[in-house]
């Protein structure tokens, strides 16, 4: 069930009606849990059992860990919970990838892939569960004693299939307060949802028409077309994922919940490190807190720091999908982070701090960061390693002759530039959104919201493409 479908609108309307009919927080939590399972069952009913199992071992082993008589037993429960979570993820997501590579490495003939259907969003609910268990093990949070609340934390439908990745410390306390729909939350949530639809249906889906066609046969197209496709995909993946996140945050807010911010205009970043503080924030902070820091972070000297960053980014790449292309993408970012860190260290050793750099340096940093991130999306988008090479070669050397400057993509990229410039240089305009409830009857709100809805209905492509991050 995707947010832009009629099915979701019907589903959410029913949930809201029932939400209003049920009095009391515990009944509403039950309703949201059942709704979350129905939401997932609409894709695959059997895999609801999988989410249920995650909830069961997360809650059960969490309590067992908390009540363990000694440290060894606590460690055992913790290890078991992590093995279960990662083992399940590994089976569903990586079994064929590793099997195929091992078979190729050792020349094993007759290996055939297992018939495994990848559960939508498994990477996300695995990370939810793991963050709870790790935080609990570290003593940062108390255990969740109420199974219904914990199961809802694992399966909360607005963010179930593509995040933002929740932390128990941020979500579970919200279930201890009265759960209710309020007018200000509903108004703001609905506007965030509309903003998400604009990003997804109006921008990402139109860009995908161009990008998909070019990536289907990149060898046919001229360098100019490939550069446009490069820019278009950079914007598509941002609009697709940020749009989904916005819809998730909006849906949750209508129901009275706050989800963490996931994007903060990442293409305005002036360094790769800054990019990761603005892009998929809930994942990058997860990787920082549960992988990079436990590996040693920056506490063991420059070389070890570089290695830790590279490992974190390689695994972050692999988290996205079982393919060497994702590993390559993660590796490129890991190396870039290392190079940037060395560069900053070198500059600082000469007394040139980032704060004192002029607009020319900052503009060059921004352009280089944007160029690198866009080029790094090539392996991320390409269906194979060979296709990656074809695109990268084609960007600089003419092999194909077809030119196609897709007008909607050019217009969308233009609109994106305007929006980014407004964010950077006229934040007052951007910060007017979303409108407050008391502003809804004023002209600006009525016209902006009215035209937004009209333009969505008029221009959204008839065949919406699924969210890119659903596959992860």
């Amino acid at each position: 069930m995707i947010f832009t479908s009629i099915t979701f609108f019907v589903f959410f309307t029913v949930v809201l009606v029932l939400f209003g009919l049920i009095r009391g927080t515990s009944g509403r939590i039950w309703l949201l849990l059942v709704a979350s399972y129905v939401f997932y069952a609409n894709w695959n009913a059997w895999y609801v059992l999988l989410i249920f199992a995650y909830g069961l071992w997360g809650w059960g082993l969490g309590l067992a860990m908390h009540n363990a008589r000694n440290a060894a037993l606590k460690k055992l429960y913790f290890a078991l919970s992590i093995v279960l979570s990662l083992g399940t993820l590994a089976y569903f997501k990586y079994a064929n990838f590793f099997g195929e590579n091992i078979a190729r490495l050792f020349g094993i003939r007759g290996w055939s892939p297992l018939d495994i259907v990848l559960p939508v969003g498994i990477s996300f609910f695995t990370f939810h569960t793991m963050s709870y268990l790790i935080d609990l093990y570290r003593g940062h949070i108390p255990p969740s004693r109420n199974p219904v609340k914990f199961f809802l934390f694992v399966s909360f439908f607005p963010q179930l299939v593509a995040g933002p990745i929740l932390r128990a410390s941020g979500f579970l306390p919200q279930l201890d307060r009265p759960v209710r729909v309020t007018w200000p939350n509903a108004v703001s949530g609905a506007q965030l949802f509309i903003g998400g639809i604009i990003q997804k249906s109006l921008f990402a889906d139109h860009l995908s028409i161009f990008v998909d066609q070019v990536y289907r046969s990149p060898e046919l197209y001229s360098p100019g077309t490939l550069w446009l496709a490069l820019a278009a995909y950079s914007m598509q993946i941002f609009c697709d994922f940020a749009g989904y996140s916005l819809m998730a945050i909006g849906t949750a807010r209508i129901l009275g919940f706050e989800l963490p911010e996931n994007f903060r205009m990442p293409y305005l970043s002036q360094s790769i490190a800054e990019f990761w503080r603005r892009w998929h924030i809930s994942l990058s902070t997860w990787l920082r807190d549960y992988l990079y820091i436990p590996l040693g972070g920056n506490r063991h000297g420059p070389t070890r720091t570089q290695v830790n960053m590279l490992i974190t980014m390689l695994l972050g790449g692999l988290w996205h999908g079982a393919s060497w292309n994702f590993v390559l993408w993660g590796g490129m970012h890991g190396v870039a982070l290392g190079v940037q860190r060395a560069w900053v260290g070198w500059r600082e050793s000469r007394g040139w701090s980032a704060e004192r750099s002029g607009p020319g340096y900052r503009t060059a940093s921004w352009a280089l960061t944007l160029l690198f991130c866009s080029l790094a999306w090539v392996p991320f988008r390409s269906p194979s390693f060979d296709a990656t090479l074809v695109v990268l070669r084609g960007l600089f050397r003419e092999s194909g002759s077809m030119t196609w400057y897709h007008t909607p993509s050019v217009l969308i990229l233009g609109a994106a530039v305007v929006w980014h410039l407004a964010y950077q240089f006229a934040p007052a305009i951007v910060n007017r959104l979303p409108f407050r409830p008391d502003e809804l009857t004023a002209w600006p709100a009525m016209l902006v919201l009215g035209y937004s809805i009209l333009i969505i209905v008029l221009l959204a492509p008839l065949n919406t493409s699924p969210f890119i991050y659903f596959q992860f």
Partner: protein, 367 residues
């Protein structure tokens, strides 16, 4: 206090109505400027819809064109006396209708420009089914009086149209001979008829209906499915798969082609789909070749001359490196013929007439 509240509510309501009006008017202007005009279509009980005489069409969805239909509702100039020219009536679907390019650049005009002895009448209509093409001929034959009728076939027409559930093939019970093959008018056309008065004047409503129509049709199908399920036990439902006793696709094609050939000299022109390769190369797409082979066999059985456009379209790719299909604002390559494609098919049409000239009236003889 109450009066003040009521006044405030009335002001808010008034502002809401004004805002809604502004949005609707602004939407109408935006659509007319950048997307398309009001619907020029009129409901037609036989072929679903036709175009109103002298109505105008504007579309910027695929390519860009502002067109004016003639007195017969065709995307062409008005019919004038032949004056010794060879008149060719071209009937086909959206490839022929060519709403993506200005009229003077479509393939029927291109053929006239290449050979000034030709007077090509474009009777294409987007979405025209193979089974309805003879109806279009029957309607126009009196006005146009063609020396040659060319039916333009696309892969979709040959391959998919005749398998549609709405395509009714009637078979004589005893002999098994096909007696009729006709496309049923789709439900959406009936829906459009209901809203015709608004669609005719409002570009905004026309666009909204195009956007929402698939949703409405899906919802209607879903409703029907539920109604059927509730009205009939599951065990009685029809099994999936091809209908028992339905003639083969080639037999149906042969019947349709024979019906074409019943009157004036007739030829079939097949629009090939291409598969592209780097370095200005292209070949006929395998699926298109398969469909062409089936149509060619059926045409041979029906004794109808069959021509294709492959070499002309491939030559266009070889010379320019650009595909003959697709537009910057839609998909490239893909979709309908662009300027280069229309020039290529125009050349194919001219050569077709030359090859057919021995069996055509003297006006059509090669000069």
């Amino acid at each position: 206090m109450k009066a003040g509240g009521a006044r405030a509510a009335a002001r808010t309501l008034g502002r809401g109505v004004l805002a809604l009006s502004a949005i609707v008017c602004g939407g109408e202007v935006l659509v007319r400027l950048f997307i398309g005009g009001p619907s020029p279509q009129v409901y037609d009980p036989e072929i679903g819809y036709a175009y109103r005489p002298y109505s105008e069409l504007f579309q910027a969805k695929e390519g860009y064109a502002r067109l004016r239909f003639n007195s017969l509702g065709l995307n062409d100039a008005d019919i004038v006396p032949k004056n010794g020219r060879c008149r060719v009536l071209v009937i086909g679907d959206s490839y022929t209708a060519a709403f993506q390019v200005p009229r003077e650049r479509n393939f029927t005009s291109a053929a006239e420009q290449l050979d000034n002895h030709l007077d090509v009448v474009n009777a294409g209509r987007d979405g025209l089914f193979l089974g309805d093409m003879h109806t279009v001929f029957n309607r126009l034959a009196g006005d146009v009086k063609p020396d040659l009728v060319v039916y333009v076939l696309s892969q979709r027409a040959v391959e998919a149209d005749i398998l549609l559930p709405g395509f009714r093939v009637l078979v004589a019970p005893g002999s098994g001979q096909i007696t009729d093959a006709v496309m049923q008018v789709e439900e959406k056309e009936l829906l459009k008829q209901i809203f015709a008065p608004v669609l005719r004047v409002s570009a905004l409503v026309t666009r909204l209906s195009a956007q929402l129509q698939p949703m409405v049709v899906d919802a209607m199908k879903e409703l029907e499915k539920w109604r059927d399920m509730l009205a009939r036990p599951v065990t009685e439902s029809h099994p999936a798969g091809p209908a028992v006793g339905r003639p083969s696709s080639e037999d149906v094609l042969e019947f349709v082609f024979r019906r074409f050939a019943a009157q004036t000299p007739v030829a079939l022109l097949y629009i090939n789909a291409l598969q592209y390769r780097p370095n200005h190369r292209a070949a006929v797409a395998p699926s298109s070749a398969d469909a062409e082979a089936a149509a060619r066999r059926a045409a041979a059985r029906a004794s109808v001359r069959f021509f294709n456009t492959a070499e002309y379209l491939i030559a266009s790719v070889t010379s320019s490196g650009q595909p003959p299909y697709g537009f910057d604002n839609a998909v490239r390559p893909g979709g309908h013929l662009n300027d280069a494609g229309h020039r290529a098919v125009g050349r194919a049409l001219v050569d077709l007439v030359r090859e057919m000239s021995p069996v055509l009236p003297s006006a059509c003889s090669a000069k």
